[in-house]
C-alpha cells in the first residue's frame, strides 16, 4: 500500500513578533503549523530564549543556579552584560522582584533606574517583568515602561487584576505585552479580548498561560498550550494568535527536585545535573506544546535547549 503523508494545512497563523531595536532585534512566532512541522507550512523563526536576571541579588535562587552568576549577579547591569557578552544571550528578561512589598520593596523610581541602566548596557531585546504582585506591579511597570520608551521591550505581566494600567503603559511607550492567566484556555482568551478592547493591538501581545515545572503540573501547561495553538491554527481564532511564553526558570528552580542534595535523596542522583536537566526538559516539553518564547535561568540548561532547537529546525 503506497504511503501518502497525511499532511495538514491550517487557516490560522501565529503572529510574528519583533522585539528590541537595531542589530540586536529578535523575532519569534510567525508559524502556521504545529510546533516544528515545517514540512506542512512556514516556521520563519526559531523559538527565542531569554536569560532571566533580576534587580536584586538572587539570594532566593537555589545555590546551583546562583553559582554560574556569582561574580556578576550583585549588579543587574554587570549581570545583563555577562549574559549578552559571555553567554551570547539573544534576549534578557529582567525581573523586578526587588519591588515586591515582602522583599526589598524597591520603589517604582528605583525600578525605572535599573531598567534604564540595563538598557544602556545591552543591545539585545529586554523583557521587563514585575514581581507578580498585582497591585505593586501597576506603578512599577508604568515607571519601567516609560524608562524604556521606544526600546520595543516586552512588558509583563498583565493579569486580570491589573491589565488596564499595564496595557496602557505598554501602549503609550511602544512595547509588547505579556498577558497572563492561570492555566485555562478560556481565561487566556478572555484576557486577550479585554486587552484588545482597550485598543491594544493584538499583534503586540504574548500569551502566558502560566508555566508549571516538570512533575508539578507541567501537563496542565502543556495541554493548555496545545489547545491554544490548535485554536489558533485550526479555528483561525484571532484572539489565540499571539505567541506563547513559557516562564520556565522561576517555576523550576523552586521545587524540591532542583534543590534537594544527593545525600538526602540518593535515588535522585547528582543535584546540579538534576536541576539543569529539570529546567531543560521542562523547556523542551513546552517547545513541543507550542512555546515560542522561553525565560530560563541556568546557562547550561539554556545552552542545551538551544542545541535541541538547532536540531528541530
Amino acid at each position: 500500500m503506497a504511503f501518502t503523508a497525511p499532511k495538514e494545512t491550517y487557516s490560522g497563523k501565529v503572529y510574528n513578533l519583533t522585539i528590541g531595536t537595531g542589530s540586536g532585534a529578535a523575532n519569534f512566532g510567525g508559524e502556521n503549523v504545529l510546533p516544528f512541522l515545517s514540512c506542512e507550512g512556514e516556521c520563519p523563526n526559531k523559538p527565542l530564549i531569554a536569560y532571566e536576571i533580576q534587580d536584586v541579588p538572587p539570594s532566593d535562587w537555589p545555590e546551583n543556579v546562583q553559582k554560574p552568576f556569582s561574580s556578576v549577579s550583585g549588579d543587574p547591569v554587570t549581570w545583563a552584560k555577562f549574559c549578552q557578552d559571555t553567554l551570547k544571550a539573544k534576549a534578557i528578561a529582567l525581573r523586578l522582584i526587588g519591588t515586591h512589598p515582602d522583599r526589598e520593596n524597591r520603589s517604582p523610581e528605583d525600578a525605572a533606574k535599573t531598567v534604564k541602566e540595563v538598557l544602556a548596557a545591552i543591545n539585545i531585546p529586554l523583557i521587563i517583568l514585575g514581581s507578580n504582585h498585582a497591585e505593586k506591579d501597576a506603578p512599577v511597570l508604568i515607571a519601567a515602561a516609560e524608562a524604556a520608551k521606544d526600546k520595543n521591550c516586552i512588558l509583563g505581566k498583565a493579569q486580570e487584576a491589573n491589565y488596564k494600567t499595564i496595557a496602557a503603559a505598554a501602549m503609550a511607550n511602544n512595547h509588547k505585552l505579556i498577558a497572563m492567566s492561570e492555566l485555562d484556555i478560556n481565561l487566556s482568551k478572555q484576557l486577550n479580548i479585554l486587552i484588545t478592547q482597550m485598543g491594544f493591538d493584538k499583534e503586540r501581545l504574548i500569551t502566558d498561560p502560566m508555566c508549571s515545572a516538570l512533575g508539578y503540573g507541567l501537563e496542565y501547561t502543556y495541554s493548555v498550550m496545545e489547545r491554544i495553538r490548535l485554536a489558533a491554527l485550526t479555528q483561525n481564532d484571532l484572539t489565540m494568535h499571539p505567541p506563547l511564553l513559557a516562564d520556565v526558570g522561576m517555576y523550576v528552580w523552586k521545587i524540591k527536585e532542583t534543590q534537594a542534595p544527593e545525600s538526602d535523596v540518593p535515588l535522585w542522583g547528582n543535584a546540579e545535573e538534576r536541576g539543569i536537566a529539570w529546567e531543560a526538559s521542562t523547556a523542551t516539553a513546552l517547545l513541543m506544546a507550542g512555546a515560542e518564547l522561553l525565560i530560563m535561568r541556568h546557562p547550561k540548561a539554556a545552552e542545551a535547549v538551544e542545541k535541541v532547537i538547532e536540531e528541530l529546525v
Binding site: 504511503f3 512533575g215 489547545r227
Partner: protein
C-alpha cells in the same frame, strides 16, 4: 478503513441476544465502532463478518507486549494525537543501549543500573524498562556472550536485540524464549530471514527503514510472511525527523486507518552528551514514541524522563492524587504547626513545596477529596467542616502534637467556625489564600 456503527451492525446477527453484554446488536455495533468493545464478545458472529470486522475493529495501533511477567511493557493501542482529547494509553518505555563491545564488568555495571533504577513517584513505580543490546562489534560470538550475560544477570528485564545479522539474531533470541524480546531488526536487505526467525521464535520484530514510504512497504511484506508483532523505526535520528515522522505515523494510523504504520514506534535518541540525549528522549516521549533508547541512565536523567513520561501520560480527566495522611515536612516537633489541605497532587506539591521553602518544620494533613483542589472540593461538598473534623480525629494526630491548632487554607476561611464547633478543643487559624503566602505566614507564626 474504519467502519461506521451502522456498517458494523449490518454484519452482526441482529438477534439482540444480549450475550455480548449490550442490550441490542446496534448498541454493540456502536461500541465496536468507538473501539470500546471487542468482537469476541459476540458468540454468534459469522466467519465472514469476523473477517470483515476483524480488520476494521482491530485497534489502529497494534497492541504489543514487550517482555513478560511483572516487568512486561505494553505498547501501542493509542487512540488520539493530543493528550487533552483522551488519555495516552501505554507510557513510552525507556530502554538503555548496551554495546557488545563493552567488557563484562562494564556490561554488569549497566545492567545493575537498570536493576536499581526503580523510583516511586506519586504512588507509581517507575523504572528503566528495557535493555537494548547492540551488536556494535559485528561479531556473532561477542553478541551471544553479551546476551548470555544479560539473560543471567537480568532475567526479568525485557530485551531488544539489535543486530542486522540473522544468524546472530537467531542465536541470541533463543536465550529469551517466552519473554517477548524484540529483534531489531529487519531492513530492506534481510526482511525475509528476520521475519522467519521472529515467526519461529515468537519474537517481536523491529523494522527499520529509510523514511515512511519504505517502512510501509517493509511492514506489509513482513506481515505477509506471517509476522504480526512489529515495532517500527522510520530511521529518524534528528529531533526534527523524530517529530515529523512520529506525527505522520500517528496521524496515518489514527486518521487514515493506514495499517502498515499501525505499530508502536521506537526511536533511537543516543547522543554524545547525556543532557542533550535526555532532551532528545524528551522529544520522543512527548511526541508519540513507544520506546526511546538512550545510551546512559544516570539517576538524575532517569528522574527527569520518568517524570516527563508520567506527566504526558496522565489522564487529563482524572486529577492526580496523593495518599490521604499527615505528612511531616522537615522534622516537626510536638509543637510544630499543623495545616490541612486537599489531596489534589498539584495542591499538595505546591503547598508542601512552599512549607519546605519556609524552612519551618510543620505537619501537613492531606485529606482525600478525590483529587480536587481546595475551592473545588469545598464547592463540591468534599472539604467540609464535619469531614475535616472526622479526618483530624481519626488520624491520631492528637497523640502527636501538643497543641490543638489547625491552620486552614484562606480560601475556606468560612469553615473556621464550623470546624471549631465539630472539633472540640481545637482552635482554627485561617492561613493565607495562596500557597506562596505560606513562608511569610509560617515565619511570622514561629518567630
Amino acid at each position: 478503513m474504519a467502519l461506521s456503527g451502522v456498517e458494523i451492525f449490518k454484519l452482526l446477527p441482529k438477534t439482540n441476544c444480549k450475550k455480548c453484554g449490550y442490550p441490542t446488536c446496534l448498541a454493540f455495533a456502536m461500541k465496536l465502532a468507538q473501539r470500546q468493545a471487542s468482537l469476541d464478545q459476540c458468540p454468534d458472529v459469522s466467519e465472514e463478518a469476523k473477517k470483515k470486522l476483524g480488520e476494521a475493529s482491530a485497534p489502529p495501533i497494534r497492541s504489543i507486549t514487550l517482555g513478560s511477567g511483572g516487568s512486561a511493557v505494553k505498547m501501542g493501542e493509542e487512540t488520539v494525537l493530543f493528550r487533552h482529547d483522551k488519555k495516552f494509553v501505554n507510557p513510552c518505555a525507556l530502554a538503555v543501549e548496551i554495546k557488545d563491545t563493552l567488557s563484562e564488568g562494564e556490561i554488569t555495571k549497566k545492567v545493575d543500573e537498570v536493576l536499581a533504577s526503580e523510583i516511586d513517584r506519586v504512588g507509581q513505580k517507575l523504572r528503566v524498562n528495557a535493555i537494548a543490546l547492540t551488536n556494535a562489534s559485528g561479531d556473532k560470538g561477542k553478541f551471544e556472550a553479551a546476551a548470555k550475560l544479560i539473560a543471567s544477570k537480568a532475567p526479568n528485564v525485557p530485551v531488544i536485540l539489535s543486530t542486522t545479522d540473522p544468524a546472530s539474531a537467531e542465536a541470541t533470541v533463543k536465550l529469551f524464549a517466552g519473554k517477548n524480546p524484540i529483534i531489531y531488526g529487519a531492513n530492506a536487505g534481510n526482511a525475509e530471514a528476520m521475519a522467519n526467525i521472529a515467526k519461529a521464535e515468537k519474537a517481536i520484530l523491529g523494522v527499520v527503514a529509510n523514511g515512511l514510504d519504505e517502512l510501509s512497504t517493509l511492514t506489509e511484506k513482513i506481515k505477509s510472511l506471517g509476522v504480526e508483532d512489529m515495532v517500527i523505526d522510520s530511521g529518524a535520528k534528528k529531533a526534527k525527523e523524530i517529530i515529523e515522522n512520529n506525527t505522520m505515523i500517528r496521524r496515518a494510523a489514527l486518521k487514515k486507518s493506514f495499517k502498515p504504520l499501525g505499530y508502536p514506534v521506537i526511536n533511537f535518541t543516543q547522543r554524545e552528551d547525556s543532557l542533550h540525549e535526555a532532551l532528545i528522549a524528551s522529544v520522543g516521549i512527548a511526541k508519540y514514541a513507544s520506546i526511546v533508547v538512550v545510551s546512559s541512565v544516570e539517576r538524575w536523567k532517569n528522574l527527569a524522563l520518568f517524570t516527563l513520561r508520567q506527566n504526558i501520560y496522565t489522564d487529563p480527566q482524572v486529577p492526580m492524587q496523593v495518599e490521604q495522611k499527615i505528612y511531616n515536612l522537615g522534622e516537626p516537633k510536638a509543637e510544630s504547626p499543623l495545616m490541612i489541605t486537599t489531596n489534589f497532587s498539584l495542591t499538595y506539591f505546591i503547598v508542601s513545596g512552599e512549607i519546605e521553602n519556609s524552612k519551618v518544620p510543620a505537619r501537613l494533613a492531606v485529606m482525600d477529596c478525590e483529587g480536587l483542589s481546595v475551592l473545588t472540593a469545598w464547592a463540591a461538598g468534599k472539604f467540609t467542616a464535619s469531614k475535616i473534623a472526622t479526618f483530624i480525629k481519626e488520624s491520631g494526630i492528637e497523640n502527636e502534637v501538643k497543641h490543638r491548632e489547625l491552620i486552614i487554607p484562606g480560601y475556606v476561611a468560612i469553615l473556621s467556625g464550623a470546624i471549631e464547633e465539630k472539633l472540640e478543643g481545637w482552635k482554627v487559624t485561617v492561613g493565607p489564600r495562596e500557597a506562596n503566602g505560606l513562608p511569610a505566614f509560617l515565619k511570622a507564626k514561629t518567630a
